[in-house]
Each structure stands twice: as structure tokens, then as C-alpha cells.
């Protein structure tokens, strides 16, 4: 019997205690951040969308190799030594490799940050931009290469010519060597 009344009392009492707490919170300062208008400061270290600096990228392919989800697709191409443009890297050293294609699929990216740590030239970096939603999956594939398709075509042709020339030269050399061998 005493237990019964004690139970009823604890029911009543604990409910009152709870109501007191919620009443206190009713008038407390609110913590909502009204997102598009207000934001909390995103620390610069935050890992959000990746950004590539094409000037810095030397096409070493380390990022695409370390990526656990294979979201980085890189195509590279040799720079012809007698290229009239004489392309330079960000620090003035001559560029050895063209990067005609550097695509990141952010639908796949898991934002682990491994690509940024392996990059030798700090070309790829996380930004604090997280608002890049898209209506299509294609819209989430970002093309970072600085080369226009025409330029890519031009450089490809240049490379093909150069390799053909090299090959011809090599073949000639070999022929010459053979010939000289035969003579000997």
C-alpha cells in the first residue's frame, strides 16, 4: 500500500521535475543557425570539395592511385621537347607532361584526403566549399584540366608527329648501324 502511494507520488513528482526543465529551456537562448543566411565558420582544414591547380599538377598519377574509391581519372601525355610553347610549371621548371584530362567524380569521392597528402606539388587540395549539388550525376564530374580540346588535339598531333619522327630517326639510325655492320 505504501509502495502504491509512493509510486503515484514519484510519477507526479518526476513529471513536475521534467516540466520544470522544459519550461526553463522554453525561455533559453536558441541554438539554431539559420543555414543559408547564417553559417558557422568552417575551419580551413575542413575536407570538402577538391580543387586542382592545373599549373601545379605534374601528372604523376599518385592521387588517382591512392584514391580508395577510384574517383580521379587522369590522362597524361608527354611534352614534345621542341614544343614552340615551351610550357612551364608553377615554379618555372619546364613541364614534362601534359594533363589533358583530370576528372574528379564527386558522386564517388569519399573525402578521405589521401590524394592531398600524396601530391608532391600540392596541386590538389580540399576547399571549404560544400554547396555543389547537381541535378544530374554528370554535373558532379568536375573537369579540372586547363587544356582546351583544340589544344589537346594540337598537342596530340604534335606528339604523334614527334614520335613518328623519332621512330623514323631511330629506324634510320638502326638501318645505318646495320649497314655499317654489314660493311664491317
Amino acid at each position: 500500500m505504501i509502495d502504491y502511494f509512493k509510486n503515484v507520488w514519484t510519477w507526479f513528482y518526476t513529471i513536475l521535475v521534467g516540466m520544470k526543465i522544459t519550461l526553463r529551456h522554453l525561455f533559453a537562448k536558441k541554438v539554431t543557425i539559420q543555414y543559408p543566411n547564417e553559417r558557422y565558420p568552417i575551419p580551413p582544414i575542413a575536407r570538402n570539395r577538391l580543387q586542382l591547380d592545373p599549373d601545379r599538377c605534374n601528372g604523376c598519377l599518385q592521387c588517382s592511385r591512392i584514391c580508395p574509391v577510384q574517383c580521379i581519372t587522369v590522362e597524361t601525355m608527354k611534352v614534345v621537347p621542341d614544343d614552340p610553347e615551351q610550357p612551364k610549371m608553377f615554379d618555372g621548371t619546364p613541364r614534362k607532361i601534359w594533363v589533358p584530362r583530370y576528372d574528379i567524380d564527386f558522386a564517388k569521392c569519399c573525402f578521405c584526403g589521401l590524394c592531398t597528402t600524396v601530391c608532391p606539388t600540392e596541386a590538389i587540395k580540399h576547399t571549404t566549399d560544400f554547396e555543389y549539388s547537381s541535378y544530374t550525376r554528370e554535373g558532379l564530374i568536375y573537369h579540372f584540366s586547363a587544356m582546351s580540346p583544340e589544344k589537346v588535339e594540337e598537342k596530340k598531333k604534335m606528339l604523334a608527329e614527334w614520335t613518328a619522327k623519332q621512330k623514323a630517326a631511330k629506324a634510320q639510325q638502326e638501318k645505318q648501324a646495320q649497314a655499317s655492320n654489314e660493311v664491317n
Partner: protein
């Protein structure tokens, strides 16, 4: 204060005055429901240290309107295998049941839609109507969750009618009447005349004061159970039964359930106000009292009760179905019975 129906007095007893008497509460109900929904959104948000809706209109005050518009636009889905007739009928039955209660709610001394001398009894009778709609909707949905919710709701509402009825009975004994206008008029003359504090009378009422306080508390609890609100929202207990009896409803039919819930909240609040808080009478005697002030006091008191209902909802966890029965039959009923006996004795002696 003399009680009468102002429209009948002005226009005579004809179809026009009857129509106004019916439509006025409906208009009030719609406006009230919008305000109560906003109140629920805002109070829950503030209790949880959020801001709540802020985008629709200044401080989000148009949010309930936006929700109604959204619900009207929604597709009306009838699940395959559902009993079409009952499924479509259920929300209207529930709404009709709760709206019928407004017929005897005395908003002020000068206006009550239907002045009948068994008002309290009538409210209780039509209040039980809602359970038919709930069982109808739950069964016709052809969904196990809905069925479970409906079964729970039926048992819960029937159990809680009884302590609630005992409370009303005690009040009727004390007031010697079932007429809501008469009960209200009795409590005129200041808050110490409210039945919450033992009703009008001399110092002898000190003997029943704890019991009337207890009775109002019991009625508060039973009213929560009857309107299916936390901590007694087990028929629609979200974490278990998804949404209980209205799981399968969408669009305007869901809105009807929603409206019915809020209108039920107001009805139980109104009964509590009339029976224990003096209805439309001013708490300060003749100060701020009159026909117009009556509306103000009545709605203020009822809204305060609604606020407490909302406040409790966002404070407490949900009870379990067997504990609900335990509370109803083994705690509330004996306490209500004791109060009833004491008040009856008091009535005989004084």
C-alpha cells in the same frame, strides 16, 4: 449574468440564427486549429532550443497555412485491399464526432450554440464517437500497424471514459446541474469561486478543496488519454506503430484526423475550463467581466490548458499499453471514486 443565445435574441428563432450558431464554432475551430498547430510547432521548438519554422511569413506564422495548402495538394491514396467506403468515411466520422462537441461549449454568457440542460452528458457522449472513427479507419486501412493502433485506441478511450465520467459526476454533484451555462454561472465572482478551489460557498469548502484539486488533475490526465496525446499517444506511437491508425492516410483525409485531434484538444480543455476554471467568468470578480470579456476569459483559459497539453507532450516519454491500463483502472479510478464519495458526503452535510 443572464445567459441566452445572442443570435436567437437578435434574429429570432429561425433557420438563419441556427445556421450562424453552427457556423461560428466551425470558423472558430479552423482559426483555433491553425493557431494551435503553430503553437505546437513553436513551443516544441523553443523547448528544444530550436527556432521552429521561420521562413513562411514573419517568424514563420504562416506555416500552418502552408501545411494545409500542402495537404490539400497531396495525392489522395487509398491502399489496395482497403475497404474503400469505411476508409473514406472514417476521417469524417472522427471530425464530426469532435465537432459535435462544440454544440454545447459556452463561449460566453451570451452565446452557446445549443443551450441544453444536459450539456456535460452530451459532450461525453459525442466524445466517445471518435473511437468509432478510429477503429473504422484502422481496420479499413488493411494494415497491421493501423489495426494495432485502432485496437489500442479503442481500449484506451473506453478505459479513460470512466474516471473522466466520475470527475464530471463529482462536479455535477457539486454544481447540482449538468447544464454548462449554469455550472459556469455558479462560479462567477472571482477565482476563489471556481470548482478548482472547491466552488462557491463559505469556509466549509476547505474540506473538499484538496479533492477538487485532485479531480481537476485526474480530468487533465484522462483528457490527455482521450485525445491520444503524449504520454498516452500509444495508438499513434510513432516509434512503434509508425503512425498508428492513420498510417495509410494522406492528403486532406490525414488533415481531417489532424483537425479532429486539435479540436478534441480544445473540447477537453473547454470542459476543464467550464467545470473547474469558471468558464467565461472573470477571475477577478466583476473586474473585466461582461459578455465580451467572457469570450476573452474563456478562450484564454482554454488555450492555457492546450498549452499545458503541448508542454507535457514535449516533456514526457510514452507509457506502455499495459501501464496505461494500470494507470487508468488502478490509480485514476480509485482516486476519482474517493473524491466522488467525499464530495457527495460534503454535499449531504452542507
Amino acid at each position: 449574468m443572464e445567459t441566452f443565445n445572442v443570435f436567437e435574441k437578435l434574429l429570432g428563432q429561425n433557420i438563419l440564427s441556427a445556421l450562424i450558431s453552427v457556423l461560428l464554432p466551425l470558423v472558430f475551430l479552423i482559426i483555433y486549429a491553425l493557431i494551435a498547430i503553430l503553437g505546437e510547432l513553436k513551443i516544441s521548438a523553443w523547448i528544444q532550443e530550436r527556432l521552429g519554422p521561420m521562413r513562411t511569413g514573419p517568424y514563420g506564422i504562416l506555416q500552418p497555412l502552408a501545411e494545409v495548402i500542402k495537404l490539400i495538394q497531396k495525392e489522395d491514396i487509398v491502399p489496395a485491399g482497403a475497404n474503400r467506403l469505411l476508409f473514406n468515411l472514417a476521417p469524417y466520422v472522427i471530425f464530426a464526432g469532435s465537432f459535435a462537441g462544440f454544440a454545447v461549449i459556452p463561449f460566453t454568457a451570451a452565446f452557446v450554440p445549443a443551450e441544453i440542460n444536459i450539456g456535460l452528458f452530451y459532450v461525453f457522449a459525442v466524445g466517445a464517437f471518435a473511437v468509432i472513427g478510429i477503429v473504422m479507419g484502422g481496420w479499413a486501412s488493411n494494415n497491421k500497424y493501423s489495426l494495432l493502433g485502432a485496437m489500442r485506441s479503442a481500449s484506451q478511450m473506453i478505459s479513460y471514459e470512466i474516471p473522466g465520467a466520475l470527475v464530471i459526476l463529482s462536479a455535477a454533484v457539486l454544481a447540482n446541474s449538468l447544464d454548462m451555462q449554469k455550472i459556469t454561472a455558479l462560479q462567477d465572482g472571482g477565482f476563489w469561486n471556481w470548482f478548482l478551489f472547491g466552488g462557491p460557498g463559505g469556509w466549509s469548502k476547505i474540506w473538499i478543496l484538496p479533492f477538487t484539486l485532485l479531480l481537476s488533475l485526474i480530468y487533465m490526465i484522462t483528457s490527455l488519454a482521450e485525445t491520444n496525446r503524449t504520454p498516452f499517444d500509444i495508438p499513434e506511437g510513432e516509434s512503434e506503430l509508425v503512425a498508428g491508425y492513420h498510417t495509410e492516410y494522406s492528403g486532406m483525409k490525414f488533415a481531417m484526423f489532424f483537425f479532429a485531434e486539435y479540436s478534441n484538444m480544445f473540447i477537453v480543455a473547454a470542459i476543464l475550463t467550464v467545470v473547474f476554471l469558471g468558464g467565461w467568468t472573470s477571475p477577478f470578480g466583476s473586474f473585466m467581466s461582461g459578455y465580451w470579456w467572457g469570450i476573452f476569459w474563456f478562450i484564454l483559459k482554454a488555450m492555457f490548458i492546450v498549452f499545458i497539453q503541448i508542454w507535457l507532450r514535449w516533456t514526457l516519454p510514452r507509457v506502455r499499453v499495459d501501464q496505461l491500463m494500470y494507470l487508468g483502472w488502478k490509480i485514476l479510478l480509485p482516486f476519482a471514486l474517493v473524491c466522488f464519495v467525499v464530495i457527495s458526503l460534503y454535499r449531504i452535510i452542507y
